[in-house]
């Protein structure tokens, strides 16, 4: 977390001004958000704590993002209906893998940051700008990542200037990578990725891409114990959203149930 304004509620109007002079790093320092790599104690394995499958891919109108609903604590299923895919703003979506509590807080701060910027400047950040900001948030978390509290987001959105969908993946040190066609993260990510590699094609229509998203999650859940599958009986369905010219749209449960039924029928 950046710790910026965290929990300090103003009783009077916050009228403070920042006078960073001409130096950008002075501005960052002044606000206490300059990048720092403070390595903490502990030697946890960085690849362990990402029990999840979330994925994102481009399609004809923009991008689609999907995630399973399971949260695990060790070998216990902690929650069955956790939401892992969220709107970042009107034209972007963010999904989380890793330590759930911290990741959810990171998303809340990220959402607030984007909206705050948009209101003050009267324009949205560019998609690239949003991804860079998220990368900084991940990087600020590095010390905790060494204690095993890893948060790795997946970010996608609709680029309002170029009118295309874009995907971004991150690593634990805040590296930000734009992916071409599809991207996954989490413990079931590798399985989902190989599934997408076989089935994804350029310019898919919405129906086809939604089906592919659900099927990739089902495939991941078959191989990875920390990824929740589809449970039609209890109504546990993956979260699937699209981001296009029309903005962020969450696909209703009824439509996902229909797709999931078809997918499960067709599975070998």
């Amino acid at each position: 977390m950046t710790g910026e304004g965290g929990g300090i509620v103003p009783s009077a109007l916050p009228l403070e001004h920042v006078h960073p002079g001409a130096s950008f790093s002075a501005l960052l320092e002044g606000r206490g958000i300059a990048p720092r790599w403070v390595v903490g104690e502990g030697t946890a394995d960085l690849t362990l704590a990402e029990a999840t499958t979330v994925l994102s891919m481009r399609y004809a109108d923009g991008v689609v993002m999907a995630g399973d609903r399971r949260a695990t604590a060790g070998n216990v299923i902690a929650h069955k209906r956790v939401k892992k895919v969220y709107p970042a703003d009107r034209f972007s979506a963010v999904a989380i893998s890793g330590t759930a509590g911290m990741a959810l807080e990171m998303i809340r701060l990220f959402q607030t940051e984007l909206e705050h910027y948009e209101k003050i400047e009267d324009m949205r950040l560019s998609l690239e700008g949003k991804a860079n900001y998220l990368a900084r948030m991940v990087r600020n978390n590095l010390a905790l990542a060494f204690q095993g509290l890893v948060v790795i987001p997946l970010f996608c959105g609709y680029d309002e200037t170029d009118r295309v969908g874009r995907l971004y993946t991150f690593d634990v040190v805040g590296g930000r990578y734009e992916e071409q066609d599809y991207a996954t993260t989490g413990s079931g990510g590798a399985e989902a990725r190989s599934f997408l590699k076989a089935k994804w094609v350029e310019g898919m229509a919405e129906d086809a891409v939604l089906e592919l998203a659900v099927e990739a999650l089902v495939a991941a859940a078959e191989e990875d114990a920390a990824t929740g599958g589809v449970d039609l009986k209890r109504g546990i369905l993956p979260t699937v959203v699209t981001v296009s010219d029309a903005g962020y749209v969450e696909i209703p449960d009824e439509r996902i149930a229909e797709i999931a039924e078809r997918v499960l029928e067709g599975r070998p």
Binding site: V9, L13, L15, K119, D122
Partner: protein
């Protein structure tokens, strides 16, 4: 040692108030009206990028008249106030009343303590799920806080505007009708015609999703106004 001249407090306050009033009267006016689906904020503005109206939070909007840099400071501080509060507690805990009080305190403090009082008036509007839950708070240059019902006017011609709106206003008007009433009243008191792209207008529309604030384009304003002409 030279003794400073004695200035009675009544005189001091009056001088400051006259100064602020004069500054505000030089600028354009803004009207805010409740309509069937929300609240309309509207005024003449020749600039396309220096806004007098702005979004503060999900249901809350801001309008300022007078000196741009002074009310802009308040607008930004208001966004900080609302976002900090919503982030620390919950989005539903941010209310126009809290913000209007904070504005009132700050502007009142500046009026008495600073070298120069702010030459501004601001209005904080909040749209409710029900028209009865709409809130309009008007903060004047000396920090006095009023809550208005149905409509409010600020700026140089506020009293004449209010009179004119009072005659034309009906409960439950649709947006186009409300735009016509606001535009006609503003053109009347400012004694000039304002082109479609010379307006700045926004609504807090309760039929929208979470964020109710939406700016109106020149085409929308022109369409609403020409609709009235063809009926007449």
């Amino acid at each position: 040692m030279t003794l400073p001249y004695y200035v009675p407090p009544e005189q001091l306050i009056k001088d400051r108030a006259d100064f602020a009033r004069k500054g505000i009267a030089r600028g354009r006016s803004i009207v805010v009206l409740e309509y069937a689906d929300g609240i309309l904020l509207m005024g003449g503005n020749t600039s396309r990028s220096l806004h007098k109206l702005g979004e503060i939070y999900d249901r809350i909007a801001f309008a300022g008249v007078g000196r741009f840099n002074e009310f802009e400071t308040l607008r930004v501080a208001g966004i900080r106030y609302a976002d900090l509060k919503g982030y620390s507690y919950n989005r539903t805990d941010v209310s126009a009343k809290g913000l209007a009080n904070a504005y009132s305190q700050t502007v009142g403090q500046i009026f008495t303590h600073e070298v120069k009082p702010y030459e501004i008036e601001v209005l904080v509007a909040e749209v409710g799920d029900d028209p009865d839950d709409n809130r309009l708070y008007h903060v004047r240059f000396d920090g006095t806080l009023h809550d208005a019902r149905r409509f409010a006017a600020m700026g140089g011609h506020d009293e004449r505007l209010a009179e004119r709106l009072d005659v034309g206003y009906r409960d439950g008007m649709d947006l186009a009708e409300t735009i016509r009433l606001a535009a006609d009243a503003l053109e009347h008191v400012e004694e000039r015609e304002i082109a479609a792209d010379g307006w700045e207008a926004a609504v807090l529309d309760r039929t929208l999703e979470r964020r109710k604030f939406r700016r109106l384009g020149a085409d929308e304003i022109a369409a609403a106004r020409s609709e009235g002409r063809s009926e007449a």
